[in-house]
């Protein structure tokens, strides 16, 4: 196929945002037009991505739909391509963005146009991350995402938005700098930044450790792992709903994707060497942040901390390097993308109505807003990892993989399952059950049609993949097998080399 479908998926939102930019009028009609353009481009992009999935060949682990253009002559190229792992993230991104746009249109009142532009640009950058087959290109997309996010938090955020935006920027910048240095040194060592070539080249062992650490520092901040997670709760709390959704659903997943694609693919020896470190930090993340989540008074903060715990599962799964663990991690990321997005949207619903995120200002909502209560319940249970939701499939596979690698890690990580039940159900109880004590709640109204559409489509997928995750498994199956095979081959190669 000659049609550059990946570029189309990636840059369609950008084109949409340019169109919006061109609408220079502040009349109601013009604003409506911007909304339609945004909705149209994002949904069109989603269907384009579905079409991409449809054309995707699940019987090979090679990169597909490859596009190669000269960019900086003789140095690096503009290279796109996807495999079974990246396509799922593209689908997730193109699915979540339209929902975000709908929620923005539904609830944001100020500077809607600019917000929509930021979201569309964000989408392009995020999809670019998952398509890139060149390290420099990857770096540009990966770090470029910082800017729209920084703006979204800083402009449409809550009262402490500037502090949070800077904290977010400071943390992630720390990682970026190191990542950039690592990218440059890889070019210096191997003479290429083409990922397909890099996966073939065996980077000398002595370089691997430092390079791995540089990549790790960037991914660990983004993921986020303990102890560099503290920017996340603040960013979430201050970010507007759509910002939180993008952040939790997709931005965090870029780091997980980075671990799978680069840390494991490029530096097998170092990955093997640092696995205990990853396990240690992940276990701390799971137990520590679960306990912190338990004591939160702010709904958004609670969900933010729970995200950290859930991403802790992901890193455990990735570095078990077993089929179950890796597939579990990917599914967990997709599922967490759906669930955390839904939970933040749910918080946004009540925040729009009475402008409070404090758990204590709610209570007894089940009486007044039954539909909302049902939706929130579904996502609560999915976050708890109840069988029949997609959360279960990911978690159980990760733990299964971990058990094969290290029983202690599996046992400690499993304890997170108890804690998640505790903090989520306690949250639910305090928000929805009991008597109505806050008079302001009396004027709260149930979900409107847009909200029902957004939340029920997320709920549908959460349950669908809980009962029938086969489409996901089929897509990633070969790619993950190949990844593990390569990893083991590389590791064996380095070992025999060391023996000589």
């Amino acid at each position: 196929m000659n049609f550059p479908i990946l570029s189309a998926v990636t840059f369609l939102p950008l084109i949409g945002s340019i169109f919006i930019l061109l609408i220079r009028d502040s009349s109601e009609k013009a604003i409506n037009n911007t909304k339609y353009v945004a909705i149209f481009t994002s949904f069109a992009n989603f269907f384009l991505a579905i079409f991409l999935w449809f054309c995707f060949d699940t019987s090979t682990a090679d990169f597909q739909f490859i596009e190669n253009k000269q960019w900086v002559r003789g140095y690096f190229n503009f290279r796109f391509g996807i495999d079974g792992i990246s396509i799922l993230f593209i689908l997730l991104t193109t699915f979540i963005t339209p929902l975000c746009i709908l929620s923005v249109i539904n609830s944001v009142k100020e500077r809607v146009k600019e917000f929509l532009i930021a979201l569309l640009v964000m989408e392009t950058l995020m999809i670019g991350v998952f398509c890139s087959l060149d390290l420099v290109l990857f770096y540009l997309f990966f770090e470029g995402g910082l800017i729209p996010m920084f703006l979204i938090i800083g402009i449409w955020g809550g009262p402490r938005r500037v502090y949070s935006a800077f904290k977010f920027f400071l943390f992630t910048l720390l990682g970026s700098v190191l990542l950039l240095i690592a990218v440059i040194s890889i070019y210096w060592i191997t003479g290429t930044t083409d990922i397909t070539q890099l996966l073939e080249i065996k980077i000398p062992k002595e370089y691997q450790y430092l390079l791995w650490l540089a990549f790790f520092s960037s991914f660990a901040v983004k993921l986020p792992m303990w102890p560099v997670h503290t920017w996340l709760p603040d960013a979430h709390v201050e970010a507007p709903t759509a910002g939180s959704v993008i952040l939790a659903a997709i931005l965090l997943k870029m780091a997980g994707y980075g671990f799978i694609r680069f840390s494991i693919g490029l530096f097998p020896v170092a990955s093997d060497f640092f696995t205990p470190l990853i396990f240690l930090l992940s276990i701390i993340a799971i137990v520590y942040t679960s306990l912190v989540a338990l004591m939160q008074e702010d709904i958004k903060k609670l969900i933010a901390y729970s995200s950290v715990a859930h991403m802790g599962f992901v890193t455990v799964g990735i570095f078990t390097l077993t089929k179950q663990g890796l597939e579990g991690s990917i599914i967990q990321m997709i599922s967490h993308g759906l669930i955390s997005a839904a939970l933040f949207l749910c918080v946004g619903v009540v925040y729009d109505r009475i402008h409070s995120r404090m758990i204590s200002s709610y209570g007894g909502l089940a009486h007044i807003t039954p539909k909302y209560a049902v939706m929130f319940m579904i996502f609560t249970l999915a976050a708890v990892g109840l069988p029949g939701t997609s959360g279960f499939v990911g978690e159980i596979l990760i733990l299964m993989g971990a058990f094969q690698k290290n029983i202690l890690v599996a046992v400690l990580a499993s304890s997170g399952v108890i804690f998640s039940a505790a903090y989520m159900l306690w949250l639910y109880k305090r928000v929805f059950f009991g008597k109505i004590n806050n008079n302001e709640l009396k004027k709260i109204y149930d979900l409107n049609k847009t909200e029902i559409f957004i939340l029920s489509s997320l709920a549908f997928l959460t349950l669908f993949f809980g009962f029938y995750p086969d489409p996901l498994f089929r897509t990633i199956d070969i790619s993950v097998s190949e990844l593990i095979k390569n990893y083991e081959m590389n590791l064996a190669f380095y070992l025999t080399e060391a023996a000589k």
Binding site: L170, T230, V292, V417, L425, W426, F467
Partner: protein
């Protein structure tokens, strides 16, 4: 047909849950009850085929999870064990559905209630018909979810919400062990399907594993981990605290979930995994000891409680203990038989007490009842049947199953067997005493409720009594009728076939006559004694309580389990969470991380700013210093 059995309740749940508002209360009540009843009738048909023809089937619906070696299907497995469970679940569930129509008549959320009940039935059916550990886990947590939803059904009541969360989390602790058990199974066998796992078990006998630094036998470890799950679900000692609290839910729920079906899932699992448990004497002994401890401790607590439902709840724990120690001595079929009979009489007792509570306008304290047996004669006689069956009065259902356990234990002729006999008989006496205490205090003596005048006490409507009558028939006859099928001579070959594995042949000797007679005799003697103590001459008891105040308090406070857990787990965990948050995140990571960094930069930039003050002599001075340093450096080199 198998599809219909499992999925009809799900359809009911979905229709009633999502379209209840449109279709109306009455429709959803009848619709769900009808579908569950159909499913029950079909279960009977299946059960009949299993009994008569030895029918067995294993249907694969579709593939659920496929990841590397792990292949899990949604499935329906029919054999003797699952068909027995289908019948138990079906009967109780359909009767509870019908009963609820009457019981919930004053409630606003009938459709939601019926939907939850049907959803529970569906989850329970998937649990028992599973052919692998994953689907079992699905059902296992699914019933836990429904239990959570139904306990907290009256969500305006804070105590109900607390109880619901407690039930879910305590069960999660059990599930944690259960999940680890499944991981271990997969680790060793590379599969989670029963048949494949069971086939490989004999080959790993004697294999050791290092589990968290402890060297143990693999099979024993698998059994113990799975059993932790059973302890949670079946409310065995240490994880039993949620069950009495679960009585906050509506009474039909207590009958269905917390007496007859869900709580017996643990027993079902042990029996289902008999091919694993049989190979670990240690695990069997552990099951036995946990069962005995639970049976005894919860029976002692039941002696002094005052809430009618809590007494029956503790009694349930205690009876589940019986089932476990029956399984622990290798008498899985007797455990299943007791599970079967227990479902009838315990559901009867719960629904009967529901009828009492309904008559008393939601009063549950037996100290505020009494003397109403003439007012509610049907309930009275039904409760009488239930009580007799529970205590094991001759020729009612409890008699056959409970005595069979004690006899089997005796014939085992081992130390643990004799312990079982001793605890079994002792607990039987306690059971008898607390049951009669409940019965006499509720129906006889002086009427002692000041809020409701006795004239206002009315019998419950027919729609509530009819299911009770059917259950009463079961409570009377199920023991006698099914004795031969379940535990009779050769039942293991003819009925159970390969659904239960008996490594050692079952002993079919006759125990000495005294062991057969002792329990019924003691139980019959205890009736007049309780009558005397609780009705005729209450002073003896009052005096006894006063002289043994501490023991009484100890029992009344349920051995202080809740307080202990609060002290050991709940409070420290909350405190730890606060410390991690306030001191870990805010005071350490942020202070030394971004904030510290920002401060550092600010500090240096402030210092740097001071240099640029515009005074030429400052600049000259700095230049001079710099120049001299440079000079020194050059000279030294």
């Amino acid at each position: 047909m198998e599809y219909a059995i499992v999925f009809l309740p799900l359809i009911g749940a979905i229709v009633s849950g999502f379209f209840g508002k449109i279709t109306g209360d009455r429709f959803s009540e009848i619709f769900t009850s009808f579908l569950v009843s159909i499913s029950t009738i079909l279960s009977f048909v299946v059960f009949y085929f299993v009994v008569v023809q030895g029918y067995a089937n294993n249907i694969t619906i579709y593939s659920w999870i496929t990841s590397g070696d792990l292949k899990v299907n949604w499935s329906i497995k029919i054999d003797a064990l699952s068909s027995t469970m289908l019948v138990v679940v079906g009967i109780v569930s359909s009767l509870v559905h019908i009963y609820s129509i009457g019981y919930m008549v004053h409630d606003d959320c009938k459709t939601r209630f019926m939907s939850y009940l049907s959803l529970f039935t569906f989850a329970m059916l998937t649990l028992v018909t599973s052919d692998n550990f994953f689907q079992l886990f699905f059902g296992w947590e699914g019933v836990g979810l429904c239990s959570y939803l139904l306990i907290g059904f009256w969500y305006k009541k804070p105590s109900a919400n607390a109880a619901a969360i407690k039930a879910f989390i305590v069960n999660r602790v059990g599930d944690f062990g259960f999940a680890l058990g499944i991981f271990l199974i997969f680790y060793y066998f590379g599969t989670v399907n029963y048949s494949e796992v069971f086939a490989q078990i004999p080959f790993i006998v004697g294999k050791q594993i290092n589990f968290l630094g402890i060297e143990t036998n693999v099979i024993t470890l698998i059994c113990l981990l799975l059993f932790i799950g059973c302890m949670g679900k079946s409310a065995q000692i240490f994880l039993h605290t949620w069950l009495p609290d679960a009585m906050e839910g509506p009474t039909p729920v207590s009958a269905l979930i917390h007496a007859a079906t869900m709580v017996t899932a643990g027993v079902f699992l042990v029996v289902r995994c008999s091919p694993i448990f049989e190979y670990s004497q240690f695990a069997l002994n552990f099951v036995c000891i946990v069962g005995m401890t639970t049976a005894f401790i919860t029976a002692t607590i039941a002696l002094v409680q005052n809430d009618i439902k809590r007494i029956i709840a503790y009694s349930t724990c205690s009876q589940l203990g019986y089932m476990f120690f029956a399984a622990g001595i290798g008498a899985y079929h007797v455990a299943m038989f007791h599970l079967f009979t227990h479902a009838f009489f315990k559901a009867l007792l719960f629904l009967g007490s529901g009828s009492v509570i309904h008559s008393f306008k939601n009063e549950q304290d037996i100290r505020l009842m009494g003397g109403v047996w003439k007012k509610i004669p049907y309930t009275w006689i039904l409760m009488l049947i239930g009580t007799l069956a529970l205590t094991g009065f001759p020729f009612l259902s409890g008699y056959y199953s409970k005595d069979a356990i004690i006899e089997f234990a005796y014939l085992k002729n081992s130390t643990i067997g004799f312990y079982v006999v001793f605890i079994g008989i002792l607990t039987a006496i306690f059971t008898s005493i607390y049951s009669w205490r409940l019965f006499f205090k509720t129906f006889h003596g002086k009427y002692s409720n000041e809020k409701i005048i006795i004239e206002n006490i009315h019998e419950s409507p027919m729609i509530m009594l009819a299911p009770l009558i059917l259950l009463a028939v079961g409570a009377i006859g199920s023991g006698y009728l099914f004795k031969d099928l379940f535990i009779g001579y050769g039942s293991s070959g003819e009925f159970w076939r390969n659904s239960i594995l008996f490594l050692n042949p079952i002993i079919n000797d006759h125990p000495p006559i005294w062991i057969i007679l002792i329990t019924p005799l003691l139980i019959m003697i205890s009736i007049p004694i309780s009558y005397y103590l609780f009705l005729k001459d209450k002073k003896i008891l009052t005096k006894f309580v006063q002289s043994h105040k501490q023991v009484y308090e100890f029992l009344l406070n349920k051995w202080y389990f809740d307080e202990l857990y609060d002290f050991i787990f709940v409070k420290p965990i909350k405190r730890l969470g606060l410390i991690f948050w306030k001191h870990g995140d805010i005071k350490t990571i942020d202070q030394f991380g971004p904030d510290g960094f920002a401060k550092l930069v600010k500090f240096f930039s402030n210092k740097a700013v001071q240099f640029q003050n515009g005074y030429i002599y400052h600049y000259a001075f700095v230049m001079l210093v710099g120049f001299s340093i440079l000079l020194t450096y050059l000279i030294l080199i």
